[in-house]
């Protein structure tokens, strides 16, 4: 046993797969210790906030420590964040449409461009060939560039409860800074928020956990069924073998995907928990294990040590447990690993069809994918809603397949490079 393990851990492929898998497992265990938010808590008002650090504006304004930093590029940064190159080109287009000669417009000179813009832009004016959406875009652009070249600070005002008038309580200068560590409320959203306004990273970690659980439950169910049927079929033979192989061959050809869809739909949305889905997946994917175990058992059945055990009068149960199982254990483990990864994929496919576990209880990788697809994250360019999910699924299956290949090479010397 110890030697086998040593051999297994000498296989490079197995180690790489094992390390990736352990890293995912550690993430799932450690992350919730630090971030204690509920994974499905809706924190954002609105959908698909981009990844980044969110600093509370109220706290930043009311901070007691204001630092003045005189940075050379501050004004340029401010202008370029409000007026991108595309915006400049769009302005030029409008001005040309308005009749300003093209050689007078210099998009790289912000001051002169804005000067021209201010003089000529009229929100009511109709430029021929411009659709309504473009007109609205120019109105928004005009609002955003107002006061962009100003060097004055913004005035803070508060409502006086007695007179009902606004009174100045302070100013925010353009060179004022806060230290982000001193702002009371800062939230890092490394993967932004999803369509419902939930933190994608927290959700993703929980989803990996649930998907792995689904994989394990489904894998164990499938392996137990496959192992039992394979042992019976291979060892007993005769009509038992014929019966079991008949059923196995039937379910090999009839696509398990179709069975999954039919069963999940019949169970109904309300009864579909993560565990139910896992068991259903397990019940529809045992055929490969049965075939593999059966062929192994048939080759073992007439070995000397098994025959000796038979002569010694051991029971079938004893023979299977002591003389057969230890020899096929490695195959069963490999089959289990493959079952787990294919179960995780099956859950994801089902969820994309809208037949996954009940929503609103736990996230799974498939459900996250489903939500992102329903809200068209891929068309809207909200990569953080779906790409991490695909990467997570790929990492899980990749690590499992690597472990499987590694084990295969250890136990099956013909395959070694």
């Amino acid at each position: 046993m110890k030697q086998t393990l040593q051999q297994v851990f000498h296989s490079g492929k197995f180690i790489v797969g094992f390390v990736i898998f352990m890293a995912l497992l550690l993430l799932v265990i450690i992350y919730p210790l630090f971030i204690k938010d509920a994974p499905l808590a809706i924190i954002a008002q609105g959908s698909f906030f981009p990844p980044g650090t969110y600093v509370n504006i109220y706290d930043s304004i009311n901070t007691t420590d204001i630092y003045t930093l005189n940075l050379q590029d501050a004004a340029a940064n401010r202008i370029s964040s409000k007026l991108s190159n595309d915006d400049r080109e769009a302005m030029k287009e409008w001005l040309i449409g308005d009749g300003v000669p093209a050689d007078q417009i210099d998009t790289s000179d912000t001051a002169s461009l804005l000067d021209l813009w201010e003089k000529n832009y009229d929100p009511q004016k109709n430029i021929p060939g411009m659709i309504f959406a473009q007109k609205r875009y120019y109105q928004r652009l005009n609002d955003s560039v107002q006061g962009i070249l100003s060097t004055e600070g913004e005035i803070l005002a508060a409502l006086n409860p007695e007179t009902g008038t606004l009174e100045q309580i302070g100013t925010v200068n353009q060179s004022d800074y806060v230290n982000i560590d001193q702002v009371a409320n800062v939230r890092v959203l490394p993967l932004g928020t999803d369509n419902f306004g939930r933190d994608v990273l927290t959700e993703l970690v929980k989803a990996i956990e649930v998907s792995l659980e689904i994989g394990f439950v489904a894998g164990i169910v499938a392996t137990l069924i496959g192992l039992t049927l394979g042992l019976l079929s291979g060892y007993i033979g005769g009509w038992v073998d014929d019966m079991i192989m008949f059923v196995t061959n039937l379910f090999t050809v009839i696509p398990s995907f179709v069975l999954l869809v039919l069963i999940s739909f019949s169970i109904g949305q309300e009864q579909r928990g993560a565990v139910t889905i896992a068991i259903v997946i397990g019940l529809t994917s045992w055929v490969w294990t049965t075939r593999a175990v059966r062929s192994q058992v048939i080759s073992l059945r007439n070995r000397d040590h098994v025959n000796l055990s038979k002569i010694a009068g051991h029971s079938i149960f004893h023979i299977i447990l002591n003389d057969i199982l230890p020899y096929i254990a490695s195959y069963v483990v490999m089959a289990l690993i493959l079952q787990i990864s294919s179960a995780i994929l099956a859950e994801a496919s089902l969820s994309i069809l809208g037949l996954g576990p009940k929503t609103s209880v736990v996230p799974t990788l498939g459900l996250m994918m489903n939500w992102a697809m329903i809200y068209q994250a891929e068309i809207l360019g909200k990569w953080w809603a779906y790409f991490p999910v695909i990467v997570a699924i790929a990492l899980i299956t990749f690590s499992m397949n690597l472990m499987n290949t590694g084990l295969d090479q250890v136990f099956n010397p013909a395959l070694r490079d």
Binding site: L250, G268, L353, E378
Partner: protein, 334 residues
């Protein structure tokens, strides 16, 4: 010819048995669930319907279609009779359009998309796998990791990535549909071109997934064969390398053909999900529509048709296998 005839009859019998089993499963699985299936369907269908006489009429219509008041065996024969008459009932979501009509309009999209894609993927995958096994060194070092990477991406993942890169970012291809939304299906050049353009992304996403899986299998099969004793013997005999390679890959191909027959169900399942990502108007998309609208007759019919397609494909592959497997040929010669 005797050997092949026997083989053919054997496979035909097996095809009929699996077909019967599939029909039984399609019939029995939804009815195994506790409760009255028709009541459940009507409850879902009648959401927002206030008139109780209307609900009763709907209930009676489906009770008659399903024959739920009769014994299970009678119900089954009624079901089989309806299938043979092509009577799958009316769709709930597109009422009163018959389900048969929806299936007819979507099945060719799926057939024309999936089977060419799976076959092309299989051929490219096997070629790459064989080359990787034979050349080894540089080529193998590139092909193997890429195949493993793609083989591990889920089918919908490949579809989404292709969609984002080529349709959303580069705008080379449209993001969804089977043809331009502003066109009416006719045999005009414009329409055909639109269909071809819409075909590319779903097609290549299925091909890519198939390549990944097949290349790995073919590579290890070929390595196994290349190290076999008959290859060494042939080398000692001085037979040309080119000729040996021909033998080796023909032997390595056979398990790959069986592998295709066994995995075609899984491949079709993955491809259906890829169809959904591209909103391609095939069976996968119809299945999604059915599930979203709790449209039981549509789901039941689509699953049955998909099973039928997979079984036929499987049968066809088995027949081809019989033609190319030398062992069955040898039996024919006797």
């Amino acid at each position: 010819m005797k050997g092949y005839k026997k083989y053919f009859l054997n496979k035909l019998l097996w095809f009929v048995i699996t077909l019967v089993a599939a029909v039984i499963l399609n019939f029995i699985l939804p009815r195994l669930m506790p409760g009255d299936p028709v009541a459940g369907i009507v409850a879902r269908l009648a959401q927002g319907m206030s008139s109780s006489t209307g609900m009763k009429a709907v209930y009676e219509k489906y009770a008659e279609l399903f024959g739920i008041n009769k014994p299970l065996l009678t119900q089954f024969f009624l079901y089989v009779k309806n299938i043979f008459q092509g009577n799958f009932g009316s769709s709930f979501t597109q009422y009163p359009r018959p389900v048969l009509d929806i299936i007819k309009s979507s099945i060719w999209w799926t057939v024309c998309l999936q089977f060419p894609a799976i076959i092309v993927g299989w051929i490219i995958g096997n070629t790459l796998g064989a080359i990787a096994a034979y050349v080894k060194k540089g080529f193998d070092k590139v092909i193997l990791p890429i195949s493993i990477l793609i083989g591990n991406l889920p089918a919908f993942g490949v579809a989404v990535i292709l969609l984002v890169i080529f349709a959303v970012d580069l705008k080379w291809f449209p993001t969804s549909g089977g043809y331009g939304f502003d066109l009416i299906p006719t045999m005009s050049w414009q329409f055909v071109w639109s269909v071809i353009v819409h075909y590319q992304l779903p097609f290549w996403s299925i091909v890519l997934v198939a390549i990944g899986g097949q290349a790995i299998g073919m590579r290890s099969m070929s390595i196994y064969e290349l190290n076999a004793d008959y290859v060494k013997y042939a080398r000692f005999m001085g037979i040309k390398d080119r000729k040996i390679v021909g033998y080796v890959f023909r032997n390595a191909m056979l398990p790959q053909v069986t592998g295709l027959a066994l995995s075609i169900g899984t491949m079709v399942g993955g491809a259906l999900v890829a169809e959904i990502i591209f909103s391609y108007p095939g069976l996968g998309y119809m299945l999604l529509q059915g599930i979203l609208g709790q449209d039981y007759p549509l789901i039941s019919a689509v699953t049955l048709i998909i099973t039928l397609m997979v079984l036929i494909a499987n049968f066809a592959i088995e027949l081809i296998y019989g033609l190319i497997d030398p062992r069955i040929k040898a039996a024919q010669a006797e």
